[in-house]
Amino acid sequence: MKALYILFIALAATISANAQVPSPLTQKHKRILILNASAHIGNGEFIQNSAVGIENGKILFVKNALTNTYMASEWDTVITAIGKHIYPGFIAANLTIGLTEIDAVRATRDFDETGTMNPNVRSLIAYNTDSKVMYTIRTNGILVTQSTPRGGIISGTSSIMALDGWNWEDAVYKADDGVHLNWPRKYQSAGWWAEPAPSSQNEKYNKTRDEIYAFFDQALAYSSEKDPVETNLRLEAMRGIFAGSQRLFIHVDYAPEMNDVIDFSRRFNLKFPVIVGGYDAHLLAAVLLENNFSVMLGRPHELPKFDEDYTYSCYQSAFKLKQTGVPFCIQAEGEMEVMNARNLPFLAGTAWAYGLTEEEAVASISLNVAKILGIDDRIGSLEAGKDATLFISDGNALDMKSNNVSFAMIKGNYIDLDNHQKQLSRKYEHKYDLE
């Protein structure tokens, strides 16, 4: 208990140095025990009163605190979290976190490269660990992201990154985890957006689809050669897709295109195809299952795409897909997605309100994401042997009014939960004597 006291003093010291930029913390404690929190494991299980043991950055065990006893002296630090909740760090897949700072300022936008086929473009090296926005995201429990490029037909290669680190090398969880393919739409919008003309059929659809096939044919042929005479950077970047070491993330929403995507996946024998968006995935669930697809569902907080859809069609999409058995998770791509990333827990919360169980909702932004991204051996749930990438919230983290993250660690390292918004708040509360 003594050690715990010391830790909190250390954190308080950081905070009182008002305007400091949050930075990765140095930490001496190797063995940490978190007691009495309600544990949302991430795999669907729940322990009302848990004991979570951590050593050298890894989770040693997650047990029921009522049926097991622990000696405080065996731990560097014991944190009691009575009445609080412990969660695995939430994972924000498919976002431009670290690649943009202020949407309207072009100089800060680093996610959309020119050109149509850019698999060789990598988010990894542009990932900005000093992003001010990033600090406001992790304070809501989001600790890991799949930093993803946008634009073109093949946007580039994403990487899975922690929301903490001195630099991108520090922050990387899995470099170059997958390539992102934006499948063309059969319908294209027209007119200008204040007076949109009806969407009409995309005359170039077949042409674009053929281009994708041609590119993949080329890449497949190239990948069969171990040491090509001439290096082709684009095709080189596709190697992992065919070797099975990288995922292909195919961004597609509607059934007609999704059918083509399924054919495409069969043709290239994709081992672990992932659909991103998947508004219509529930309609084609059987075929998707049969072909080993997973789905990273679009934001529940979106308007329905058709007038006739239920007003809550997006709130309910996770539940509908869950019923089919297709592996899925929730992601938050969309308008102002980076600053909005901190609302990811509430997207899952809404899915809970509209059909998922609470623990399924937790899984939809933790273990399910880790599985689809292929890093569930390391993160995604509170299970022995995994990284201690987790957080404690004073209340239910999926509900806005009670999400209050008081403690978080990535790979066993405490992270600073201050951010410039909190600093500004303190600055003016002080000015007005509101403290």
């Binding site: 700072e101 202020i102 949407d103 309207a104 300022v105 001010k132 926005v133 059969k186 319908y187 919008s189 007119g191 957006w193 204040a194 007076e195 949109p196 003309a197 009806p198 969407s199 009409s200 059929q201 509607y254 059934a255 007609p256 059918n259 219509d280 907080h301 979106e302 308007l303 329905p304 058709f306 007038d307 006739e308 239920y310 007003t311 809550y312 102002m336 980076v338 600053m339 901190r342 609302n343 509430f346 919360g349 809404t350 809970w352 309100a353 239910n396 999926l398 509900d399 806005m400 009014k401 009670s402 999400n403 918004q421 909190k422 500004l424 708040s425 003016y428 509360e429 007005y432 509101l434």
Partner: protein, 1016 residues
């Protein structure tokens, strides 16, 4: 002056018509007037008057006489029209044919601030009442004239369909002789629209801007007329002069019909509205507005619905629209709305009659179709003395028709001013029938079928042959298809015979005798020899088509119009009712806070009793057991941009106080329904933030299904949107938008000072003018009325409140200084993301705040926006609300309020007030909304849970005591919609099978506006 001139001209034409005098010099000897007597015809004089067997006399282009026993004058050319019907030819009241288009185009890519039109014209390029179509009409541009004539038109109103005040049309007859003399009225009607057309001038960029511009123009024109200006302005002069003509306003949907009429009424202008074919959707309101309509018949083709996934992209609204449009004329007739038909909007004008026939099949009586094409347009355009019926004295604009014009009829002749256009020959020779053909003593069987003008023939050649097995002789028949043609009475035919009677080509020519049904003539046989031939009819032709039954008129579909006519529309509008809610947890927002196990009575649209022990449950009240549920007043969104037509921003100028969102409320936005599903009952629809002084806002109750007028909150305090920062100075509009003042925050301040200082002078001017005695007033010029400054004066006088889009502390501070020095109070800062930095100043000034819960980082100016903003403002005593600015978030404002509990530790009750009572206070409507209190509006939401909980769902939403959203009814409506889709898809498939052309599915996109949605 001009009016009297017009009368002169029309008198003159009448006289010249009667006496056959001519102004034009004749090249050669003079022609005399031609006289025709059409006899033995059925004459449809007008929709209501038919002569079954009469005579019509035409002299010099005018109908001299018409009647049962009219004796043809001597020297008249007699035309026997037995079996034919005469109709008045059609009038198209709305065309653009033959009129040259405007060729003014800006160069360069920067916005065009000023008009490109030099000369004594209005400052706005979309306002050009001085354009007279008669000066622009060129016969050679009228390329589809033949089609119009074939479709039965004889008169056309054509104009330059460009801009907002478009100028006048020319009314012309469609004759071919002497184009100069075809004009009926040179300045026929005065034209308007809401669209600026080819003008690329920045202003107006929105429909509300166009509406304001029309208003301001008329004030300017009236003022110009009343004062003796030193400068001459043709636009202003013509704008007033043109008001003596019929006024035609082109619109694009049913709501615009109402907008146009309301606008015109405010200037005592009686309008004829050229609608777009969907008036039926809001027919009651349109009727009440006293509309006269010009109605297109471009009923859409069915969609190709063969692919289920692609079919899904077609909205139910679109499907229903397809089904209902052909009923539009019928419904207008049934509702006694005066209307005429036009070929306008039809891509293929040659389909016009087919479409009118379709309207007849969909219920429009034939006689009403005729009226809508003749008398009504003549009356609308004040040309009834000249055209529109076959009465004596009118122009001989008539159609000679075989059959019933609007059923199986065919137009044979179209006469214009007595000029006879023969489309088909009324004396046509019908050679069809069965014949025996004798060709040089060889007899063939002969059958002529097909249509009268394109007959086809079959020839049977008989030959005796020996049977190869039995050796017996027998008759062998060979069928031959010859090529034939008939021109008047001369006939020719060619056929080939192989090893028959001949071996080679046989060519015949002959003369037909109509009365006997006999051909005779000469033929050349393969040998080159000429021989005689003859054929005698043995049997008359029987048309197989004639046996077909008339298609049935079925109008049952007209009972399927929803309110609005789309997904989740109501079959009939829900009504106010009494509800008694019991066992509820009620969030009152009043002193008694949250009361558990409480009751609530709603009656006559109001909250009647809150947890009263003495409540009388009225008979017929619905009792709702709300055990486990939470009941609140409806959410009020201080900052919304849903339900707006054609542009949320009038971005053409930096001060657009003259525009108002109330003019463009769009009642059929599906987002209204979606907000109800999130517990929202009232929204302030704000102008965007593209300029410093934006437009006035509209406050609506979300009464889904009702008209815009019914949604607007009556007597709501007026608001106007101001804006500061990046949007106002066009920071994110691209590199070209660098010419509109202001481009810096420094300039923004000057826009405000300029507007208010001008407004003060303006008010003074009017005050001193109004203080003058009537006598003295006559001696001084009346001040100009300026709509923009009117609004600024309202602000200065505290009669209109400001809600200002704002982010950065410096400019917030600045605006408060402007207001203080000008002597008014800023009511609300909206967005106000750096409000926390100046909360003390806001409190001192008396401004409220309406902010986002947690938005930031989307622009440079929101880099220091913090989610603790609302909490700090609240703690500083500033009335604080949470708003949406977004159709998606607008339906989760309960969640956004809950975030203030998280960010800043505000109590749940206080957080809840931020989306209910506090916006009501800011909007000065807290005397009727914002809490659950006796006497307030019954805008009530029943939630499944604590409304701030992530698990909360709005289960029932009442607006003014009407249960307007119900989560279970929503499911029922959804299922009904699926069935309705299926029913219409079946109809489409049937039409496709019946040979209709189809179009590819399209998805109509619902525009989503935000503050910075540029409207240009």
């Amino acid at each position: 002056m001009l009016k009297s001139l017009l009368i002169c001209i029309s008198l003159f034409t009448t006289i010249s018509g009667i006496y056959g005098q001519t102004i034009n010099p004749e090249n050669g000897v003079a022609k005399t007037a031609e006289t025709f007597a059409i006899v033995n015809a059925r004459i449809v004089i007008s929709a209501d008057e038919v002569l079954e067997h009469g005579t019509l006399i035409v002299k010099d282009g005018v109908i001299m006489d018409v009647g049962l026993a009219v004796i043809p004058p001597k020297g008249a050319v007699k035309i026997d029209a037995k079996g034919y019907t005469l109709y008045p030819s059609f009038i198209d009241p709305y065309a653009t044919e033959g009129v040259a288009k405007s060729d003014l185009r800006k160069t360069g890519s920067q916005p065009q601030i000023n008009s490109l039109k030099d000369g004594p014209f209005y400052w706005n390029q979309a306002i050009h009442p001085e354009v007279d179509a008669y000066t622009l009409f060129q016969e050679e541009l009228f390329t589809n004239k033949d089609t119009y004539l074939k479709m039965g038109f004889g008169t056309m109103v054509t104009h330059q369909a460009d801009g907002i005040l478009r100028g006048t049309s020319v009314i012309r007859t469609l004759g071919d002789e002497n184009h100069q003399n075809q004009t009926l009225v040179a300045r026929g009607s005065n034209h308007y629209s809401f669209s600026k057309g080819t003008s690329q001038q920045s202003y107006p960029s929105s429909q509300m801007g166009a509406i304001a511009l029309i208003r301001q123009f008329f004030y300017d024109a009236q003022w110009y007329k009343a004062t003796s200006s030193k400068m001459d302005n043709v636009s202003l002069t013509k704008g007033i002069e043109n008001l003596d003509l019929p006024q035609i306003f082109e619109v694009h949907d049913k709501l615009e019909i109402l907008r146009a009429i309301a606008l015109a009424k405010s200037f005592d202008i009686s309008l004829i509205v050229k609608e777009r074919g969907d008036a039926f959707e809001r027919i009651a309101a349109i009727k009440e507005a006293g509309a006269k309509l010009i109605v297109p018949v471009d009923f859409p083709d069915p969609y190709d619905v063969s692919d289920p996934y692609l079919t899904r992209f077609i909205s139910l609204a679109d499907l229903k629209d397809w089904e209902m449009r052909p009923y539009n004329p019928y419904l207008l007739y049934k509702n006694h709305i005066p209307f005429c038909l036009t070929a306008a909007d039809l891509k293929k004008k040659e389909d016009f009659l087919k479409k009118v026939k379709s309207a007849v099949l969909h219920g429009l009586p034939e006689k009403e179709a005729l009226r809508a094409l003749t008398e009504t347009p003549a009356e609308f355009l004040a040309i009834s003395d000249k055209v529109g019926s076959l009465q004596a004295g009118k122009l001989a604009n008539l159609l000679v028709v075989k059959g019933d014009l609007f059923k199986d009829g065919e137009i044979y002749e179209n006469w214009t001013r007595g000029e006879r256009l023969k489309l088909k020959d009324i004396n046509e020779t019908d050679i069809r029938g069965k014949y025996n053909l004798n060709l040089n003593s060889i007899v063939y069987g002969w059958e002529i079928e097909g249509t009268i003008d394109k007959p086809t023939a079959k020839l049977s050649s008989y030959k005796w042959v020996n049977d190869s097995v039995t050796g017996a002789r027998k008759m062998d028949t060979v069928k031959i298809t010859p090529k034939i043609s008939i021109n008047d009475l001369q006939f020719s035919m060619t056929f080939i015979e192989n090893k028959g009677n001949y071996n080679g080509v046989v060519m015949l020519n002959g003369t037909y005798n109509k009365n006997l049904g006999v051909f005779h003539g000469r033929a050349q046989v393969p040998s080159g020899e000429w021989v005689d031939w003859a054929a005698i009819r043995s049997e008359k032709f029987k048309d197989p088509k004639k046996d077909k039954k008339d298609e049935k008129v079925d109008t049952s579909s007209v009972n399927r119009i929803y309110y609005p006519n789309m997904a989740y529309g109501f079959d009939s509008l829900p009504k106010q009712s009494s509800y008694f809610i019991k066992n509820a947890t009620i969030w009152t927002n009043e002193a008694n806070g949250i009361i558990r196990n409480a009751t609530l009575l709603i009656q006559d649209g109001k909250i009647k009793a809150v947890n009263s022990n003495f409540v009388q449950i009225p008979s017929g009240a619905t009792v709702i057991d709300a055990s486990g549920k939470h009941v609140t007043c409806g959410i009020i969104d201080e900052h919304s941009h849903i339900a707006i037509s054609k542009g949320v921003n009038e971005s053409g100028q930096s001060n657009t106080a003259e525009v108002s969102i109330a003019d463009v409320v769009r009642s059929n936005d599906i987002n209204i329904y979606r907000q109800l599903a999130g517990g929202v009952t009232c929204s302030q629809l704000l102008h965007g933030s593209a300029n410093a002084i934006g437009g006035r806002s509209a406050l609506i109750k979300l009464k889904w299904g009702f008209t815009p007028e019914e949604m607007l909150v009556k007597d709501a305090p007026g608001f106007i949107k101001f804006a500061l920062g990046e949007n106002v100075k066009q920071s994110n509009w691209g590199d070209q938008s660098t010419v509109r003042f202001p481009q810096t925050r420094m300039g923004v301040e000057q826009v405000f000072y300029d507007a208010f200082i001008r407004a003060k002078t303006y008010e003074e001017t009017w005050k001193s003018y109004n203080a003058l005695s009537e006598k003295k007033r006559a001696g001084v010029p009346v001040p100009r009325r300026d709509l923009e400054l009117d609004v600024m004066v309202e602000i200065l006088n505290g009669e209109r409140f400001v809600t200002c889009h704002s982010y950065i502390q410096s400019e917030i501070n600045m605006l408060m200084h402007v207001a203080d020095s000008m002597g008014f109070t800023l009511n609300t800062f909206t967005h106000i993301l750096e409000g926390y930095k100046v909360a003390d100043k806001m409190k001192a000034h008396g401004a409220g705040a309406s902010t986002f819960a947690d938005w930031w980082a989307y622009k440079f100016e929101v880099n220091e926006a913090i989610p603790y903003n609302a909490a700090i403002l609240h703690k500083m005593g500033v009335v604080t609300a949470i708003n949406s600015d977004d159709a998606e978030m607008g339906r989760r404002l309960n969640q956004e309020a809950a975030k203030i509990v998280k960010y800043g530790g505000i109590s749940e009750e206080d957080a809840w007030k931020m989306v209910t009572l506090n916006p009501a206070i800011l909007l000065h409507i807290d005397d009727r909304m914002g809490s659950i209190k006796e006497g307030k509006d019954a805008d009530i939401v029943i939630w499944s849970d604590n409304p701030l909980s992530i698990l909360a769902k709005a289960e029932q939403t009442f607006v003014d005591g009407i249960l307007i959203y119900d989560i279970n009814r929503s499911v029922t409506l959804h299922d009904r919609d699926l069935k309705e889709r299926n029913r219409i898809l079946q109809l489409m498939l049937k039409e496709k099978e019946a040979g209709a052309e189809t179009r590819k599915p399209v998805q109509k996109i619902n525009p989503q506006y935000h503050c910075d949605s540029e409207g240009h």
